[in-house]
Amino acid sequence: MKPLILHGHERAITQIKYNREGDLLFSSSKDTIPNVWYSLNGERLGTFNGHQGAVWCIDIDWTTTRFLSGAGDNSLKLWDVETGTTIGTISTNSPVRACNFSYSANMAVFATDKSMGHQCEIHIIDVRNADESLGKSSPILRIPINGPRVSSLIWGALDETLLTGHEDGEIMQWDLQTGKKISNIKEHDKVIMDMQMSKDATMFITASKDHTAKLFDSDNLMLLKTYKTERPVNSAAVSPILEHVVLGGGQDAMDVTTTSARIGKFDSRFFHLAFEEEFGRVKGHFGPINSVAFHPDGKSYSSGGEDGYVRVHNFDQSYFEYGFDY
């Protein structure tokens, strides 16, 4: 396959996401400007200029009209996708680490970091009629987190629950009616870097610095599968059409010089969903991969790395014909 290399960022990519139809690919990086691209030919549609700090998280609503970004400049911005203009800005007390639209895009959630004397907090906001007054309106629900900070979050099925991954590897499930914790589990030993839903939202996959990615039931948080690697996993995604899982990660940039180099450390790694066995690798990045995403049609995938590049791969025919020996 011939990957498209998207070079619109000057610093490490933090997150990439496709919209629902998969024709647009959004990317954010530690430079301050999220980008949006046509996933088919890699043409850049535009940039969202306005943040003052590293953009940590992005999300797109299901109609691809609005775009959400949370940044290190203590703000969350809501954008119009078509024109790239800011609809509203919410100022927070500390950097916004994770953000997400609910499936219906009536609500959005974001989590702030524990820093500068402020504790980590989850905010749920109403974005149905969002305009400039967004910053002044009060959130629907605020959940203060006393323990380890939230490092990643997603909405549960039917927008009824919220799933948060924490810095110590714990996963919590929250009831949105009451704002109370329903359940929690601790299957990871280190920070959870990324959580992504499977296509039908019955399962979700977590990626952790403890060198594993794990698959959970999104309803009762039962651990289903574990994918082991030798390096920190920064992101994981489930294929929407095949029983495949892709993992991206690698040695931290700061550890690269102090550990022995081995070939294949910055590869995207493909695992079989059920057998937990690795069956393929794709090379390309020359730094750890920070975010991976499957195209919603399952025929291509993208990865964004610490090297600042986003690579869009269209799978070869051999990928679809590959039979797993069992």
Binding site: H7, E21, R44, L45, T64, T83, F279, G280, S318, Y319
Partner: protein, 289 residues
């Protein structure tokens, strides 16, 4: 005066004038390709011509996607022309997914070899000259006894005898270079294993189909060879730009028998308006001998 004007625009003057300015970039669209030609000054101030060829594709998509395709670019891309901007979008080099099913096998082979070496080391490296036991001569329990002195007494006679003997067995492998696959012992076994597990196993059952017509597609080739048995890999040589068949292809069968059958049946078989030429793939014949 017309003559003067003509002189002024002589080609030599034009070359002089053009020295600093670069020719304008052009964009040509023809039969499904967009050819973008640009000129720029490269390093050491030489003019560089850059030709980029894009393939234009038409796709039928849902209304919402089509609408989004018409959106105007914004932000830092506001000034970009339609189509990918080469500054931000780069066509990458070909990469392949590396399938890692044989990983465990390879590791095993390596371990085996290492184990063998270890076993050998324990047994054969240390040998006592006096009693042939597996210890150093200086540590021999018979060192100060009659056995040792008897040996050393006629050692001059014996040692030269011993040496040719040991040398004899080693000369075969040391004096003259032998390629690994010609060597007698464990080495060849290891090579065999490695060769079998690697890509060569595929080559052994690859056939080359040539004299195919231009209009042949992957699907056609597959249809042609499928009746003979399961196909492992299929490659049809195609023209890079037009996607037309270049007249030959390679088929890797899962089983050798199927490949034999395919050659027997397909060689000389009429396909489209041409007569096929089917034989073992070339690298196979050279590696087998």
């Amino acid at each position: 005066m017309p003559a003067a004007e003509e002189v002024k625009s002589s080609w030599a003057d034009e070359v002089e004038l053009e020295g600093g300015a670069l020719p304008p970039s052009t964009e040509v669209r023809e039969n499904g390709f967009k050819i973008l030609t640009e000129y720029k000054l490269g390093e050491d101030n030489k003019k560089v011509k850059i030709v980029r060829t894009y393939k234009i594709e038409k796709r039928i998509v849902s209304k919402s996607i089509a609408l989004r395709k018409t959106w105007a670019k914004f932000g830092e891309s506001a000034d970009d022309k339609p189509g990918p901007n080469p500054a931000t979008t780069i066509g990458g080099e070909d990469v392949y997914m590396q399938y890692v099913t044989s990983k465990e096998e390879d590791n095993k082979v390596e371990e085996d070899a290492l184990d063998k070496l270890k076993m050998m080391g324990d047994k054969a490296v240390v040998k006592c000259r006096t009693c042939n036991g597996d210890h150093w001569t200086s540590k021999c329990p018979w060192k100060d006894t009659a056995l040792a002195s008897a040996k050393t007494a006629d050692g001059e006679k014996k040692a030269p005898q011993m040496q040719p003997q040991t040398a004899d067995s080693t000369t075969k492998s040391t004096t003259k270079y032998l390629p690994p696959n010609m060597r007698g012992d464990g080495a060849s076994k290891r090579i065999d294993n490695a060769g079998m597990s690697g890509a060569r196993r595929d080559d052994a059952i690859a056939i080359r189909v040539s004299n195919l017509s231009d209009s042949t597609t992957d699907a056609d080739l597959e249809e042609l060879v499928k009746p003979f048995g399961p196909v492992h890999k299929l490659y049809l040589a195609k023209e890079k730009q037009t996607g037309q068949c270049r007249g030959f292809g390679y088929v890797h069968f899962k089983f050798r028998n199927d490949a034999v059958k395919a050659i027997a049946n397909l060689n000389g078989h009429g396909y489209d308006h041409l007569i096929l030429n089917v034989d073992w793939s070339k690298p196979n014949t050279s590696s087998n001998h």
